[in-house]
């Protein structure tokens, strides 16, 4: 048993975690926690403030929402990671600095930011972009390459533009401003994409400043019946999961050996241990997908068929590229080893020209176990199929025992089947869960309604049924009195807070009245000790200017996709039930 009191807590000021980029970044931080534990992650998601681009309503909402950031300095924590984008791209350097100063002496690392007096972790933008442009120019002979850029105030957007121009020039291509359009880096980039295509007829390749910006471009291309990867090569940046799920899948520049999050956690842990640290850059490279077919590694048939141990592992690392960065619990099935075992059995059978039936059955079983244990989580379907096909092709191309080869081919068919099955399963499960979730949330509100009008009772009933909101593990805190935000004021929460209930495996446990009161400064650390979770996200429960409390959720897919929504929903419900 580990002593939870000794555990370190790291807060992550994250921005909007429903956003692909933030979400991947948070995941990479979480995956960086050593599997032995001892470190807890509390994610404080906010909203990105973009003044001018958003309505006044949005602006107000975001300001109340971002009150959650104050937990970073109100609570006792051991370290903090701040996303450069968490305060919005337009917040000027001075405001951001002030914000960072509020965390005082807590060790902190800032991601994607140009601040010079802070420890920052940034992408080395150049290596990946250069790899892509060089490939486009030298291998494909393209000359018409454009870029869908970002706002100049964003550090990375500016850098990426500079590098883009530099790479073109190095390849002897001149740059004209028509080749570049500024977007707000969100998914709504259709206007700019239209303009770019109009200004650059016959464009051969487009670089999007991030993966999100490519969404708008894809929409425009679709309306013009242009196919990414065939008519125009497209590649983005950040190599988010979204990129692999787009159709056709988006090639993207991403971290090479180590992710931003992992580096940040490494450096932060060093800082927490009192070591001297320096700002760092994370090397990038191009991840080829359909929108820009690009072989990351060239395998020769000889390599493929040699059944060399190191090579099979490399094949796995290339294909299941997310596995390396993920934090895999040692108690779970070791997929990497499993892949090695069955691929090497196949290759050995090929080499020996003989496969006993027992071995064949064994490989079948291994394939099933491999996919049943979430192998597809770590790769793109396409990439896997590609990798399998290449191997299968290599085996079939050379002369071998027809009996063995037919067995091997059967095994490959089994792999594809398993792969398809798993994808379908995940998709159905996702759809079903989001439908049922909304149904249950409505039910929750109905249960909470009390026509007799006893507010105490209303609240109790509502909280008792909090499980219907779809949170499996978490807790709900409420303030004695709701916190109302005054205009132009930063929200801070009171020193004491009431723990209303704990949700464990979907069951709600109400806290007895005499044990509800907690010190706000302790709640982050305590919630880990209590729940035995290793990572949580905290959302404010509010309506308009009034914050009622805080919702703690286990950090999982649901928290990313629905956490903010659920918290808002609870806020609305509380307003309706308590103040109606």
């Amino acid at each position: 048993m580990q002593d939870t009191n000794k555990d370190k807590t790291i807060a992550v000021i994250a921005g909007n975690i429903a956003n692909e980029f933030c979400r991947d970044l948070v995941e990479s931080i979480r995956n960086a926690i050593p599997p032995t534990g001892g470190i807890n992650i509390a994610v404080l998601p906010g909203e990105v403030l973009i003044r001018g681009k958003r309505t006044e309503n949005n602006w107000q909402y975001d300001a109340v929402f971002n009150g959650i950031y104050s937990l970073g300095y109100q609570c006792e924590i051991d370290g903090i990671i701040v996303f450069g984008g968490s305060m919005g791209w337009v917040v000027d350097e001075k405001d951001f600095k002030e914000f960072l100063d509020s965390f005082k002496d807590i060790p902190k690392v800032v991601l994607t930011s140009s601040l010079e007096d802070q420890i920052t972790i940034n992408y080395d933008n150049e290596s990946g972009i250069k790899e892509a442009i060089d490939y486009l120019v030298n291998v494909n002979g393209f000359t018409k390459i454009c870029m869908l850029g970002g706002v100049e105030s964003n550090l990375d957007a500016g850098k990426r533009k500079e590098i883009f121009i530099k790479c073109l020039e190095e390849n002897g291509l001149p740059f004209r401003e028509e080749q570049y359009e500024i977007t707000n880096m969100s998914t709504h980039t259709e206007q700019q994409a239209e303009k770019l295509l109009n200004n650059n007829p016959g464009v051969e390749a487009i670089f999007c400043v991030n993966d999100t910006a490519a969404v708008g471009l894809y929409n425009v291309m679709k309306s013009r019946e242009l196919i990414p990867g065939e008519d125009i090569m497209v590649f983005g940046f950040d190599n988010t999961r979204m990129a692999s799920e787009m159709i056709p899948s988006l090639s993207s520049v991403g971290a090479d050996e180590i992710t931003l999050g992992k580096k940040a956690v490494q450096i932060l842990i060093d800082m927490m241990n009192g070591q001297e640290v320096e700002s760092a850059k994370v090397k990038t490279r191009l991840y080829g997908r359909q929108s820009l077919p690009y072989e990351m590694y060239q395998y020769t048939n000889r390599e493929l068929l040699d059944a060399n141990e190191a090579f099979i592992y490399r094949m796995f690392d290339d294909c299941f590229y997310r596995y390396k960065a993920a934090s895999i619990k040692s108690s779970s099935v070791n997929l990497r080893r499993l892949y090695f075992e069955f691929i090497s059995k196949i290759l050995k059978a090929y080499k020996n020209k003989y496969m006993p039936y027992e071995d064949y059955e064994d490989v079948e079983r291994m394939v099933d176990v491999f996919f049943a244990n979430g192998a597809m989580e770590y790769t793109d379907a396409e990439k896997l199929i590609d990798c399998m096909s290449r191997l299968q092709y290599a085996i079939n191309a050379l002369k071998g025992s027809p009996a063995v080869i037919s067995m091997i081919n059967n095994l490959f068919i089994r792999m594809r089947d398993a792969c398809i099955r798993e994808i379908c399963k995940t998709n159905t499960a996702q759809r079903n869960s989001s439908f049922s979730n909304i149904k249950r949330m409505r039910e929750h509100l109905v249960i909470g309604m009390d026509y007799a009008g006893d507010k105490e009772k209303v609240l109790l009933t509502y909280i008792k049924n909090l499980g219907l909101e779809g949170i499996e593990n978490g807790s709900l805190f409420m303030f004695d009195e709701p916190v109302v935000r005054e205009e132009y004021e930063v929200v801070t929460y009171p020193d004491e807070i009431l723990l209303k209930c704990i949700i464990k495996d979907g069951d709600v446990y109400l806290t007895p009245a005499d044990r509800q009161r907690k010190k706000t400064k302790d709640i982050l650390k305590q919630s880990f000790a209590q729940s035995r979770l290793e990572s949580i996200a905290v959302f404010p429960v509010f309506y308009e200017r009034t914050t009622y409390g805080l919702l703690f959720c286990e950090l999982n897919d649901k928290a990313y996709n629905m956490g903010g929504f659920i918290a808002s929903n609870i806020g609305i419900n509380l307003r309706m039930l308590l103040e109606a």
């Binding site: 108690s331 075992e341 003989y354 039936y357």
Partner: protein
């Protein structure tokens, strides 16, 4: 050269396999060895024909056997087909009759050698596989002749046998076969030839030679009649002991060796129920010579006889021997070193003696498992033909491995087997026990002693075999196959079971226990291993099974084992799941886990070998502390500090508690929480420190009249006579013994009240005082309050500290204060950790006599008033 070993399952499977192998003729000669323990002669020929049809150009040699060797495993109910395809070399085979078909008279060895040479030998013959049947009498002379005629040819093979418990019948009924037929009167030879062919051969016997050289002075066929002029059978019986009549197999452990032929062992079978004529029919023409040579020997009466598996010739020098476990291990180590360093190990041949599985029950399985994961193939034989490095020989109880190849290739061996020789050692211990008992029985032919010998012998030879893989197999699975999730299953308190229940009942329960474990493991596709009796391990691969799933399965199995009925004894199975096992860490992790399970009384435990390793930082700190303490003891750096205790009635500090401090070389001061645990775990260190400390305090306070002092004592100190004598001596001479209070730690485990009570009484007698320390900490035992007659009671600081903001803590203080009022004993209550005025006010309000804490005084080297 490439070799495939196929276990025969069905013809259709076989044809499927051969189709896969695509053994088309253009690619070099093919040798197919068939060793079967499941076919009769005619069935075996059918099988050979079937194979010949599938692979028309194959050269087939087949023998019957009592057990096959395949991929490092020995099994007695399989048929193994080994297919070897040469790259450039050639194969020649022949079946050569050993007897004249018409007369039934054996051919001369000369003639046989000639046939072998003509039919199969080439210039570049590397290995001559030779299988014979037991009807052929002149095997020794045949091999000698071969050595003479073609000395460069290495031979490998043996005497074909069949599965039968009785060794002699097993050997007698063996046959050889190919696609043309089977016979028990032939030599079956296969030569493997080729210039690029290279081979190596080595053997193990395990026979430890003892005693003087003897000469065979008279023999009759295979029987040895006399040695050095004495009756050979009687001599043998005397040596081995009286059980031979009942268990003739016992002779396997005591072979003879030919001391004139490189100590090659040969077995004799002891029999007391036959006459010579029963064995060698007088009518049979071929024995006529033997009878004529022995006109004086009584041939019709039943007599004790010892008989070898081959013809014995007079004048050979022999020595006694016994099979020794260490010799088996060292011989195997030598052989393994030789075989594993051979570069062209494309095909491994392994032939072992039928007696080897019987010598020690684990011997054959153990030594063959060294070659697990290789393509070793072969069988058990009734006697082995091999090249001993100088020449070809025939021997019993040998295990031979040969490696052959045309190109460089490495095989995967299992050297971990050598780490696990416990089973062999155990077998040997039983043997030694038997031999010791034999010593006694010679002087005293008591029936009970004989019975005991009989017991041992049956255990040695017929030890129950669960048929489950052993520890070595487990270690290899862990190392090579990734079986790193291991669940150790053992049963609590077998000893007490043995005292109550009959052996049969226990045995039945045991078999049921093993069966359940085995069935469960097999149904889940886990591997199961037998560590020792009642101790079973189940292994899973971390890349196939999630730990949680494995744990759940094991819990299920445990429940199944718990569930019992009248038919079996109720057992308490202990399950310990170890994740991340390696061969190296397994035992220590398991032992630690068992310790934890014992202290916490739990029957199911899950631990991770990676994280449960002892923390080396802590260990290093511990040893650093030991150094500091040692240095402090040697350099007078154990220093007492004194903290004043404030009397709430007199409002003065008049009493002090002495506190131990240790100072290191650099002047850093250590507090008890840093060194006390370490010192306790090194008991002697604690004793020295404590003595120094007490001595210093005595010194300091001896002559003070108006100041008293408390000294902390542990239970260890009170049990330490040296210490108590020192205290008694001092109090006896001190001017004011009432100034010395001894604080006994309440939270220490007190199990021996008499010692403490005696100490307390003695202190009181001498005028000293006693205090009960840390009352209320840990799991307080109110019994101490009743049994120990103390003068002071110290309330633990953890309660005092919280009494201001915790009502429960305050209630406890009130309780203690109330108890004092009710009690008729004269007791003073001391509150520790009085840190501020608020606490002090509370203490005064409850009438607590003394307050100790930073509010009044901090510990200091000097006495502060």
């Amino acid at each position: 050269m490439i070799t495939w070993n196929i276990q025969y399952i069905s013809r259709s499977r076989l044809s499927g396999t051969f189709e896969q192998l695509m053994l088309d003729s253009g690619k070099g000669d093919i040798l197919i060895r068939i060793h079967t323990a499941i076919h009769f002669g005619d069935e075996a020929v059918e099988l050979a024909r079937f194979i010949k049809e599938l692979v028309p150009n194959a050269h087939i040699v087949g023998t019957s056997t009592s057990g096959t060797i395949n991929a490092g495993k020995l099994s007695n109910n399989q048929c193994i087909i080994s297919v070897t395809r040469m790259s450039s070399g050639s194969i020649k085979t022949a079946m050569i009759p050993t007897h004249d078909e018409k007369t039934g008279v054996p051919y001369s060895t000369d003639l046989l050698c000639q046939s072998v040479k003509e039919e199969v030998l080439c210039e570049d013959t590397q290995l001559l596989l030779t299988f014979v049947t037991s009807t052929f009498p002149g095997i020794l002379s045949f091999i000698d002749k071969c050595n003479e005629r073609f000395p460069d040819v290495k031979m490998l093979g043996g005497l074909a046998n069949v599965p039968d418990i009785r060794t002699d019948r097993s050997v007698n009924r063996g046959y050889v076969f190919n696609e043309n037929g089977y016979t028990n009167k032939a030599l079956l030879v296969a030569s493997i030839n080729g210039e690029s062919l290279d081979g190596i051969m080595s053997y193990v016997t395990g026979a430890e030679v003892v005693g003087n050289e003897m000469t065979i002075t008279d023999s009759f066929g295979e029987c040895i009649l006399s040695v050095d002029g004495n009756d050979a059978a009687v001599e043998y019986r005397k040596r081995v002991g009286g059980v031979l009549g009942k268990h003739a197999d016992y002779a396997y452990v005591f072979p003879y060796v030919y001391s004139d032929n490189g100590d090659i062992p040969f077995l004799v079978i002891y029999d007391e129920s036959k006459s010579l004529e029963d064995i060698y029919s007088r009518e049979d023409q071929k024995y006529a010579d033997m009878y004529s040579q022995h006109p004086d020997v009584a041939t019709t009466c039943k007599r004790e006889l010892i008989r070898a598996t081959h013809e014995i010739s007079n004048g050979r020098k022999i020595k006694r021997a016994f099979i020794h476990d260490r010799k088996i291990v060292s011989d195997n180590q030598k052989m393994f070193n030789k075989i594993s360093s051979f570069e062209k190990a494309q095909t491994l041949f392994g032939y072992s003696c039928i007696t080897r599985p019987n010598i020690y029950s684990n011997c054959a399985k153990w030594e063959i498992s060294i070659y697990e994961n290789t393509n070793i193939c072969g069988c058990l034989t009734g006697g082995e033909i091999f090249h001993n490095g100088e020449k070809n020989v025939f021997a019993n109880c040998a295990f031979i491995v040969a490696a052959l190849g045309e190109e460089a290739e490495a095989q995967a061996f299992n050297p971990y087997v050598f780490l696990h020789t416990e089973m062999l050692e155990k077998d040997n211990e039983e043997l030694l026990g038997y031999l010791t008992a034999m010593e006694g029985s010679r002087k005293n032919a008591d029936e009970t002693v004989k019975e005991f010998i009989h017991e041992c012998a049956s255990k040695l030879l017929y030890s129950n075999d669960t048929g489950i893989m052993n520890v070595a197999a487990m270690n290899m699975d862990i190392k090579l196959k990734g079986y790193d999730r291991i669940c150790m299953i053992s049963v609590l308190d077998i000893e007490s079971m043995n005292t109550v229940f009959s052996d049969d009942f226990i045995d039945l329960t045991y078999r049921n226990y093993v069966k359940k474990c085995r069935q469960f493991a097999e149904s889940k596709r886990y591997h199961i291993y037998s560590e020792e009796k009642w101790h079973i391990a189940i292994g899973a691969r971390s890349y196939m099974v999630d730990l949680n799933e494995f744990t759940k399965d094991m819990e299920k199995l445990q429940k199944e084992l718990f569930a019992t009925n009248d038919e079996y004894i109720a057992i308490i199975p202990l399950f310990c799941v170890i994740d991340n096992c390696t061969v190296e860490n397994m035992i220590s992790v398991y032992n630690n886990a068992r310790l934890t399970m014992m202290t916490k009384n739990i029957q199911f435990y899950v631990c991770d070998a990676k994280t449960s390793r002892p923390d080396d930082v802590i260990i290093r700190e511990k040893y650093h502390m030991v150094n500091v303490i040692n240095y402090a003891i040697a350099n007078d750096l154990i220093v007492p500090q004194y903290q004043g205790i404030y009397s709430n009635s007199s409002q003065h500090i008049e009493h002090y508690e002495s506190l131990m401090r240790v100072v290191d070389e650099e002047g850093r001061m250590y507090y008890p929480n840093a060194f006390l645990d370490v010192a306790r775990s090194f008991g002697m260190l604690y004793d020295s420190m404590s003595k120094i400390m007490v001595g210093k305090v005595f010194e300091h306070f001896r002559d003070l009249t108006n100041k008293s002092v408390s000294i902390n004592l542990g239970i260890r100190d009170i049990r330490n006579r040296d210490m108590t004598e020192f205290i008694y001596d001092f109090l006896g001479t001190a001017p004011h013994p009432e100034n010395f209070v001894f604080e006994i730690l309440e939270n220490e485990d007190i199990d021996d009240y008499s010692t403490i009570i005696a100490f307390v009484d003695r202190i009181h007698e001498l005028g000293g005082k006693i205090a009960l320390d840390d009352f209320g900490s840990g799991f307080s035992n109110l019994q101490h309050v009743m049994d120990i007659h103390f003068d002071y009671l110290k309330i633990d600081g953890s309660i005092v500290k919280r009494c201001v903001d915790n009502k429960e803590a305050e209630n406890l203080i009130a309780l203690i204060s109330g108890w004092k009022k009710l009690s008729e004993r004269e007791i003073n209550i001391i509150a520790e950790f009085v840190e501020n005025e608020d606490i002090q006010d509370k203490m005064v309000s409850y009438g607590i006599d003394y307050s100790q804490g930073f509010l009044f005084s901090k510990p200091s080297t000097f006495i502060i008033e």
